[in-house]
């Protein structure tokens, strides 16, 4: 299906295109089963950032008030990129890990499924 319109064409740019990020990109990531943080987080980051640095310096501190945060070992995580199975290389950059503008990363950590193991 496409939109119905009056006139010759209906063609507008996406409002969240990468060009609007001044060389950076937009990125989403969630730590599954830690729902006291209600939704996947949004980040503006450089694609050249190292993946481990992103995880440890940017992502992990966002879960600071969760008791699981001190126990987590990201290397043991089960990873998805765009909801598909994926194995990140922690030593490489976001870009080198195929993470692109508006990518969605999901990680679950077996054994750490939130408080009481119910996903909180």
């Amino acid at each position: 299906m496409t939109v119905k319109f009056i006139g010759d064409s209906y063609d507008f740019p996406c409002s969240n295109r990468v060009e609007n990020y001044g060389g950076d990109m937009n990125l989403y990531m969630v730590w599954d089963h830690h729902l006291i943080y209600c939704a996947p987080n949004a980040y503006r980051v450089s694609g050249d950032m190292n993946f481990r640095d992103f995880l440890e310096q940017v992502f992990q501190p966002d879960y600071a008030q969760h008791p699981d945060v001190d126990k987590v070992d990201w290397e043991k995580g089960v990873w998805q990129l765009e909801n598909q199975g994926w194995t990140p290389d922690f030593s490489k950059s976001l870009k080198e890990n195929n993470i692109a503008h508006n990518s969605f990363i999901r990680v679950s950590t077996p054994g750490l499924e939130g408080m009481h193991g119910v996903g909180n």
């Binding site: 119905k4 507008f12 729902l35 006291i36 939704a39 408080m115």
Partner: protein
């Protein structure tokens, strides 16, 4: 018309206004005079078949409305003179009024704009006249609500910037985008979206909790405008049903088009009402009914019966209604958890349910509430007691269609966030549900342009990248936002209670 009759009766007046005064243009072709009412593909073979069950005329309309205004403003005067702000159940209640004032009152104004466009857009004069009346109603509702709430603005925070924050605040883009989506569609889709899906199918879930909630919680001002608007609302509902039946009866080619709109606007309406359900379950100190119960009565019984009636036109139940019903045990808790942790960026206060409220929620929502949401609130209470009130500092991903932060979970797993992706023009877009993804995929050219607040913040268009900068840009003051307990509203209320106890 009889020759000797000097006065016209009501039905003759209506007939003249909606048929006799209309004409086929000859200097310009009708398609140029009415350029918007064909491109959606809706085929109307005979506009004269349009029947407005109310057959309202101008003089009757002015008379009814003037009478209602007189009564309404007499009561609003007495609300002011009797300090009725002190008679509400609790100052927490006012956050329900704030959410209405900030989120829903501007929709009345948006409806005024939309119905003005329709009052010009349809080539059938009967439909045009009905839409013009409704446009005036909507403006009146906007004004009477602002007047009713103005009294609260003298005492409480969060009421003073409704027009500005409506255009800027992330949580108000949810209702705002609903109407703007409708207004940027054609006139037939607009009226299906607003008059049918919103005002007919879902209105009981919108007005009932709010107006009954107001009555239950001692809010005379709101209750009065609710009653004043009620007769207009019943006219609007009838218009909604009428237009849908009219489209379905005029041509069989209209059926699949209308069905797609019903699918889309059922889902958009349902998503929007999550906010109202949350108000019912969490913001009314004296409860009316739970969202779950309201959903069962007003959708599972009444809504389903309505769609059964439409089956004879070839209309089926709206897509994803099963998911909406499945979510009735979780949606308001997920929503409240979200507002709770982001209320430092809203002109609202939030709080955790007290013991009695927690018992009520357990009774209404059963096992899932006890297992998942109750321990969550208990943990937040612990943090609160340690002086670490829980606020989320990072921006969330927001659905590209309904514009709600994607706090939603998989239909078969309430413990796991859902986040669906569609790619268009090389850009990925995130959605909260199959319902919203269907809407995106049907018209990606439209939704790829959506103004999504966190994206705009990161692009540098909203005053800065931190929540503090953003809040400043919203014109929300520190004292408007955050935790209820300890807030200025809470302190004022406690002071009044103490004074009343001394008397």
């Amino acid at each position: 018309m009889a020759k000797n009759q000097r006065r016209l009766n009501l039905s003759q007046k209506y007939q003249l206004m909606t048929r006799g005064l209309d004409w086929e243009t000859t200097y310009q072709p009708m398609d140029k005079v009415f350029p918007y009412d064909k491109y959606e593909g809706i085929k109307i073979t005979d506009w004269d078949k349009w029947q407005d069950p109310f057959r309202l005329t101008m003089d009757a309309y002015w008379k009814y409305q003037a009478e209602k205004e007189r009564k309404l403003y007499a009561i609003l005067d007495s609300v002011v003179q009797n300090n009725s702000q002190q008679n509400i159940s609790d100052a927490r209640y006012l956050n329900a009024v704030k959410i209405w004032m900030q989120g829903v009152t501007p929709l009345e104004y948006a409806a005024f704009r939309g119905f003005n466009m329709l009052g010009r857009g349809f080539r059938g004069a009967g439909a045009r006249v009905a839409c013009q009346f409704q446009a005036i109603d909507e403006m009146r509702h906007y004004q009477t609500q602002v007047h009713a709430f103005a009294h609260y603005n003298k005492f409480f925070n969060g009421f003073n910037q409704h027009a500005r924050i409506r255009d800027r605040a992330w949580y108000l883009s949810i209702p705002k985008s609903y109407f703007e989506d409708a207004m940027t569609a054609g006139p037939f889709e607009f009226i299906t979206a607003i008059s049918f899906s919103f005002e007919y199918v879902l209105t009981n879930l919108l007005f009932m909790p709010f107006v009954s909630g107001a009555a239950h919680n001692g809010d005379m001002a709101t209750t009065t405008f609710g009653f004043s608007a009620q007769s207009d609302e019943s006219r609007h509902m009838t218009l909604g049903l009428e237009i849908v039946k009219f489209m379905l009866e005029q041509h069989e080619d209209n059926v699949p088009i209308v069905q797609e709109w019903l699918d889309k606007w059922f889902w958009r309406g349902y998503r929007l009402l999550g906010l109202i359900g949350t108000m019912m379950d969490y913001m009314l100190p004296k409860k009316v009914m739970s969202w779950r119960q309201a959903w069962e009565i007003y959708w599972e019984e009444n809504g389903v019966a309505l769609f059964n009636d439409l089956a004879r036109y070839g209309i089926r139940m709206p897509k994803h209604h099963e998911t909406a019903t499945r979510e009735k045990y979780r949606i308001t808790h997920e929503f409240w958890s979200t507002i709770y942790q982001f209320s430092h960026a809203t002109a609202l206060y939030t709080w955790l349910p007290d013991e009695e409220e927690m018992d009520w929620l357990c009774a209404e929502y059963g096992e899932l509430f006890e297992k998942l949401y109750k321990p969550r609130y208990e943990y937040w209470r612990e943090l609160d007691a340690r002086g670490e009130r829980f606020f989320q500092k990072r921006l969330p991903v927001v659905c590209n269609v309904c514009q709600i932060p994607i706090f939603h979970t998989y239909p078969d797993d309430p413990c796991k966030n859902i986040c669906l992706v569609s790619e268009y023009k090389g850009t990925k877009h995130q959605m909260c549900s199959e319902g919203c993804k269907d809407i995106f995929d049907r018209e990606p050219e439209k939704y790829c342009q959506a103004y999504i607040p966190p994206q705009q913040i990161y692009q540098g268009n909203c005053g800065g990248a931190t929540l503090e900068d953003y809040r400043k840009w919203l014109h929300i003051r520190d004292e408007d936002a955050g935790e209820y307990y300890g807030s200025e509203d809470n302190q004022l209320w406690e002071k009044w209670q103490a004074e009343a106890a001394r008397v």
